[in-house]
Structures are given as C-alpha cells and as structure tokens.
Symmetry: C2
Subunit: 378 residues, 2 copies
Amino acid sequence: MEKISRTKVIDLLTREDFGALVNVKGWVRTRRGSKQINFIALNDGSTINNVQIVVDLANFDEEMLKLVTTGACLSVNGILTESVGSGQRAEVQAQEINVLGACDNTYPLQKKGHSLEFLREMAHLRPRTNTFGAVFRIRHNMAIAIHTFFHERGFFYFHTPLITASDCEGAGQMFQVTTLNLYDLKKDESGSITYEDDFFGKQASLTVSGQLEGELAAMSLGAIYTFGPTFRAENSNTPRHLAEFWMIEPEVAFNEIEDNMQLAEDFIKYCLQWALDNCRDDIQFLNDMFDKELIDRLNSVLSDSFIRLSYTEGIKILEEAVAAGHKFEFPIYWGADLASEHERYLVEDHFKCPVILTDYPKEIKSFYMKQNDDGKTV
Amino acid sequence: MEKISRTKVIDLLTREDFGALVNVKGWVRTRRGSKQINFIALNDGSTINNVQIVVDLANFDEEMLKLVTTGACLSVNGILTESVGSGQRAEVQAQEINVLGACDNTYPLQKKGHSLEFLREMAHLRPRTNTFGAVFRIRHNMAIAIHTFFHERGFFYFHTPLITASDCEGAGQMFQVTTLNLYDLKKDESGSITYEDDFFGKQASLTVSGQLEGELAAMSLGAIYTFGPTFRAENSNTPRHLAEFWMIEPEVAFNEIEDNMQLAEDFIKYCLQWALDNCRDDIQFLNDMFDKELIDRLNSVLSDSFIRLSYTEGIKILEEAVAAGHKFEFPIYWGADLASEHERYLVEDHFKCPVILTDYPKEIKSFYMKQNDDGKTV
C-alpha cells in the first residue's frame, strides 16, 4: 500500500482540495450499498462525523471486502471528492483498502442504538459510540476551557496531595489507604491498630478536598485553582454522588464575596461559550438524542446575569410558594438547609436563571465561613 | 482607605503610567531604610519580583508602622513612580497603608535564606519563599504547556479512574483502598477476608497507571493523553520515587515508533521552550541559586535533535567505555537492564544530548510490547 500521510476525519471533512490523494484510518461504523458500489462510514474519533468511503467493488478483492464489517479497522488510500449524498462536503473514492483489524459479527456495537445500561456492561467499547465519544470530546474541551480561563486570569494550577493523614480519625466518609497486611494487623496494649508499619507510618486516607492546601497556596501565590480527582466514600446511589470525580477549587487572596460571585459567573459562562464554539456537533447530537432543550438552555444561561440573592430572601420566596399551594417533600423555614427541590424551584420555576444564594445561617455552614455583622449569617 | 482596584505586582512592574494612583496588596518580604524613609519589598506571588514601597515615615502613624514587619499582609495605596534604585522599573510612593494581617517576630521566614530541610518542617509557609514560589509557578506553566501542546495536536485529555479492582491480588506495590472496619474484618470458610461489605464489593486499590483505559480511549478517539495523579507504594527513599506524583501518558492509534519518538521529542522541546518564554525570572533564580548550568542545559536540549539509538548499539558503547577503563557500579552486558549510571553515561558523557533507546531485549520489557522480526527485541 502506498504510504500517504494520514489525514484525520475532522480535517478531511473541511478540506477542499478535491482530487488530492489522501489516506484516512479509522473504524467502520456502517457499510451499505449495491452490488456495484458500497459506502463505508468511517469514524476515527476526531469528530462525531464519519467520512464516507466510496468503494467500486469491481476494483477490490472479494475476500478482503468480506472483512470490512462494522467495527473493523481500516486504512484507506483514495481521492478526496466533493460529496453530493453523504451529508458531508467531502468523501473519499477508495483506491486501496488495508484491513488493519478485522471484527467478527459478535462485535456488540452494531448499527442500532444501544441503551446506556447495555453499554455499561462494555465499558471497553463504549467510547466508540456517538454518545460516549461526544461526552469525552466535550469533557476534554471543558478541561481545556477551565485551564485557559484560569491561566488567562493569572491563577496558578496547584496540585494538592490526595493521600492525607488529616482528619482520619472517625471520618467514616473517607477511603482508608494502606499497605498493611490485613491478615496481620498489629495492635497496641489498648487494642488500637498501630500504623508504624503502614506506608506513611500513620493512618492515611484519600482526601475529600484540597481546600486547606489551596488556601495556603493562595496566601502565597495570590490566586490558585485545583482541578483534580476527589473521593467520597458516601454509599448513596444518586445522580449527585460519585465515589471518584474531578473537582475545581479556586482560592484567591484579597477577594471579596462580590469578586467571588463574579468569578463563578464568568467561569461558567466562559466554559459554556467554549462548548458551543468548539463542540457544536457533539452538543447538537446530545440535544437531538437526549435533551431537546439543551442548546436553548445553554444559550439562556449565557444571555442572563445570574441572580444574586440572600438565603433569607430565598426562604421568603419558597415560603410564599408553599403558601400559594406549591408542595415540597421537605419542610422549608429560616434555618433549614435547602434540598434539591428547593434549589430547583428557585432556579427553574421562579427565576428561570442561575441563582447565587448568599448569607446562610451560620449553623448550617462550615466554621471557617466569614461571619456577617448580624451575628447570625455567614 | 480609598478603594482603588488592585494591581498585581507582575502587572505593576511593567506599567509605565507613572503618576497613576494604584493599589497593591501582598506580603512584606523585607523592610529597611533610614529614620525618614523606609523601603518595603512587597510580594504577592504573581511573580518572584517584589515591588518596592517607598514610605515617608512622617506621613504615617507610628503604631501602624510597627506592624509592618516581615510576613505582614498589607494593602497599599500610592503613586506609581519610575524607580531608580529598586532594581525594577516601577515603585510605589505610599499614600495609605492598611495592615490586613500582622505578623510577629516568631514568623519563621525571616530575611535570611533557609535550607530545604528547614522549610520541609513548615510546608504551610514555604510556598511564600522564592524557591517554592518559583517551582510552583513553573509547575503551573508546565501543566498549561502540556495541555496546550496536546490540545493543539488534536489529542483528547482523558481522565482514567484512580480506584481500581484490577491487579489487586498480590500486588505488593499498590495502596489498598477500603472502607472496611479493620477491627471487624469478615472472613470466609477458607480464612480469606471477604470484600462484599467493602465500598465497591470487592478488593480495590489505587491504580499504578491509566494505560489500559488510555489505550481503549485511543482506539476510539484516535489520540488521547492522561495527566493526573499516580500512586506507587514502593518503599524506597530515592530522588526518583514518589508515593504520589502526576504522570502524562499519551496513547495514539495508528502511530509507528518513529511517530512516537518524534512526539516525545517535540513534547519535551515544547515544554522547555514554554518555560524559557514564560518563566524566565523563576528559572533565572533557580539557575543562580541551585544550578548554574540550568539555562545552558535547557537551551542545549532545545538546539539538538535527540539521538535515536538501539539498545544493542547503546550496550556496545557502554562495553567500549568499560574496556577503556570507565568504572560502573553495576555490570553491563547485552540482556541487562540499564541502571541510572549507564543512562547518564550515554546522555551526559558520550552524546551530551537526550537519547531515545529502542529495541530492548524482550525479556526485560512488558509482554505487550511489539516484537521485532528478530524474535529477540521489542
């Protein structure tokens, strides 16, 4: 096979030098056609879009073509051609096809759509689906947006330690980290497990937050952000809880609460705009397949200023809703923490806009939050 | 105090609108001067450089000035002035000084230099030193360079899971992750600890690599990189081993070994160039204080092409060195893995240039490495 430098599908689909000899590599999504001409939809993950490979069957070996099935991995040399029917601007008239990896008919990702539950059982293959491909490409772009946003504003990316000896005693929600042989745990006279022989010479666990280190760094470098894995050993199966997730924590010296609120709003809008600018095809796919209001909602968050509201004002709105007949599962009153249903009422029903709630009762917030002059809120 | 929008020191030092009223906030590094005029070196972490605050003592309250000591946190309003003596282009003639945080004389970071051993005992304060500030600013810039390099080349940033159930059995070098109560471990009939009640329902540990997931992602998305924390429970106190560190793993579909070597060389050069372009003051500090050849060495890596050499050729050079009288601690022969001293001889003594060694004996490399036609090397 003639060696031609590979072009990624995302680049191929915007090239206009029709007639050029190109090479494209990827995985077969579908193959269809007549007895004379076949059309192969080839995807290489660089974009959700496939490039159409047009195959004049008379020019190719029949045994080779039998291997061109869904999931097979191909290298194709051919002529870049203006397309009329593929839904894309460009397609490739195949001249040489090399099957780099064949794929028999037990390959589970056939043409039909698959449920997320089905795909959960094949985590090794699901990145090849449109849905997971879209999610991963968007997640990548959000990570780049996050770094770009903070870097452009003079924040330093700070890596806080994940294994910690802080707050190990009695922290039931943390994962313990150990190299001890659990079959041979040593105990002291009082019956307590001794950790002298453990890796760090003391009890250790996975941190639930880099905040403390982040604050120290901000008090030195001025403005930092963390962006890394975080762990919570909460045994709850809700869409809001993960045992392992990536969290962003900015810490800024000399910021007032107004600065923090502006930073949060600017940050979210920056990331949304980045997604719309750089992941349009992937977001359109999610909009079409999962959530018909997705793009409208993203645009609406971008267009409005976030509502900034005190907790006390928020409670008043919620109490008025109850008085007007709105039913909440959990009771709401001044002093209560807001449940998800209350937050959603304020955001989705009342304001139809993102809301920043401030000045919470000190009793339901952390000890280190700055207390207001009223002595009651933070 | 009049409210003026804060200017970071890094921006202040390049401003040329002398005469402007500015606000600067930061921490006092030193204070010196006469009975009439004091000079405060103020640092806010945005740069290794301090801004000089010029204080006409007659204009300020004596009790307030007593609080302006090394480590104190200040907000200063003043006039931006062209500097003649501070080593910087601009300084600030103080008009108002507000001590945001005082600092008594037990503050351990006084003017004199401190050893790294001393600073190790005060991890909460050492980010305020020139050395750690420089390292953290450079580390931030390297992270941004890494993301920019891969993003510009169409790689997707991929977050691989850190908690894993793979390879738990007998992996002595991994950290076990558990929520089991170690005082009440359940065992089955054969005496084995049962993990049904552990968080994931099976034995889990911290991964030593995201490579497997990364390869799956590359086989879908085309080109990915990981960049995240990695854990090794190796109990060795060498400068080469850390229990927790951040690792980069690119995985690319369709790459040949030549492509991989070019990627590695381009990547390293891109990061070095970024450091020289964006961290010049911090690198100059490290050059002056720790390693007088640092900048020369970085430039030399940038200017030369990396040597690409087979293991067999490398062994030949090392054997010739031994024959010529060079002493190594560990014996060297075809089939032996290279020790650090051998690698350093090739890089520092023989080639004086980075070296990529390929085609190792299959016995000393992982099972999944692609075997060469000779049947002996990979």
